[in-house]
């Protein structure tokens, strides 16, 4: 089955890393010297891992992608922390959105049997979790909660949109 084996997951890993680091790293919009809008694709990788992947491995793979992104962003540990969090939170997102008759045993999060609506909700949870956790780790103190909230409000919708577009491109191929 396409998009479900180790090779396509590895390809996605490299593709998302490449896009994030060389393309979307350049995107940052803001006002008055402060930047509020970023685009993060990292959670897409975690979201697209097959459903049967053992949960500790989901956490571990997410961490690996996060730490790779960190190496290019020069924020060692921050992306890794957020990606690890998303990797851990994926099981709860899946549990929350579980269809009435459960997931099919062999499926990756496949558009065909889960539908666009399911995908959008799923990605929103992943991207939202990622951004909130990432900005919290970046600020590193509850004192800056305003920054965290504003950055999340700007970043989540745009990142979500880009993630949906990316998934639409990836799903039939790898």
């Amino acid at each position: 089955m396409r998009g479900n084996d180790a090779i396509s997951n590895a390809l996605r890993f490299l593709l998302i890393l490449f896009l994030q680091v060389f393309l979307f790293r350049q995107v940052s919009l803001g006002l008055g010297g402060k930047e509020y809008l970023f685009i993060y694709l990292v959670p897409v990788f975690t979201a697209l891992l097959p459903l049967r992947t053992p949960r500790p491995l989901v956490v571990l793979f997410s961490f690996l992608l996060g730490i790779s992104v960190d190496l290019f962003y020069e924020t060692l540990g921050v992306h890794a922390a957020a990606a690890t969090f998303v990797g851990y939170a994926r099981q709860f997102a899946l549990g929350l959105l579980e269809p009435r008759d459960g997931y099919k045993a062999k499926s990756s999060p496949e558009g065909k049997d889960l539908g666009n609506r399911w995908w959008m909700q799923y990605l929103l949870l992943m991207v939202g979790g990622y951004c909130v956790f990432f900005f919290s780790m970046e600020a590193f103190s509850p004192v800056y909660w305003r920054d965290i909230v504003v950055k999340s409000l700007f970043t989540i919708p745009v990142s979500w949109l880009f993630c949906i577009i990316l998934v639409t491109f990836l799903r039939p191929r790898i």
Partner: protein, 271 residues
């Protein structure tokens, strides 16, 4: 054991998550300057709170030591009491059978109140006329002088501290040179000994004692040490700066010195 292993196995993702998060926190704090500063600040606030709590506890632990100091002081004073000494004057056929007649009574007291620090310091002790405390009696502690009783009530007495500008105490050196000790209102650790004749040899570091001439304090109580000598031109006298051996501002306990011979000695000075 099997249960513990099962818990680990069933919650593998949780433990992986926690382990990797800890690793991430370590990386964040060690490789990001902003987050490192925040972490250091938070740590210092927390540890500051911890340290102040520790100081409070240590204040109580210190009580044992303070008790020990007081016990030693009591033991020392007891050893000075006449009944703990062996009186040899009776052996050498002498008429001084009253050589140890009690002259001074020492009444323990606590300092319960004190004026704000100013050039004229006073304090209040919790012994008064009921314990026959009278104006003019001295107050001292084991390391130096504290003041002179000024006014009494039934249970309390007001004491003019030696750090009061109107205090005058007769003080001298081991070589019998003597003068008047007073305070100029500036440095609570130093007093001035004035009117010491300038032919008296004085060296820095000499000990200054009470003379007992004014019947307030016993003779030979240590007050402090000479820090500086200043010759008064034309007056033929020396002014000595005396570094006090105690800290009257922080004393908490003292002894009221009651001179039983005061009236008798005072009557000699009446005209």
């Amino acid at each position: 054991m099997e249960r513990i292993l099962r818990i680990f196995f069933n919650n593998g993702s949780f433990f992986t998550f926690v382990g990797l998060q800890l690793l991430c926190l370590y990386l964040i704090i060690n490789y990001n300057s902003n987050q490192a500063a925040i972490a250091a600040e938070t740590w210092s606030i927390r540890s500051g709170k911890f340290k102040s709590a520790l100081t409070t506890v240590n204040g109580y632990l210190d009580l044992r030591e303070q008790n020990e100091i007081h016990r030693r002081e009591i033991a020392r004073l007891r050893s000075l009491l006449p009944e703990s000494g062996y009186n040899i004057t009776t052996e050498i056929d002498s008429i001084q059978d009253d050589s140890l007649l009690q002259r001074f009574n020492f009444l323990t007291t606590r300092i319960v109140n004190r004026s704000p620090y100013n050039p004229n310091n006073t304090l209040v002790i919790d012994r008064g006329a009921r314990f026959s405390v009278q104006p003019g009696q001295g107050v001292m502690n084991e390391s130096g002088l504290i003041g002179i009783v000024d006014r009494t009530t039934d249970r309390h007495a007001r004491v003019l501290s030696i750090l009061h500008q109107s205090t005058r105490i007769s003080a001298g050196l081991a070589n019998r040179g003597y003068g008047t000790l007073r305070w100029n209102g500036l440095d609570p650790r130093r007093m001035t000994l004035i009117d010491l004749p300038d032919y008296v040899p004085v060296a820095e570091g000499d000990t200054v004692y009470t003379t007992g001439f004014s019947n307030i304090f016993p003779t030979g109580q240590v007050i402090g040490t000479v820090e500086k000598t200043e010759r008064q031109p034309g007056a033929g006298s020396l002014n000595l700066t005396v570094l006090l051996s105690n800290d009257p501002l922080r004393a908490t306990h003292g002894y009221v010195v009651q001179d039983l011979f005061k009236e008798e000695l005072g009557s000699l000075n009446e005209n």
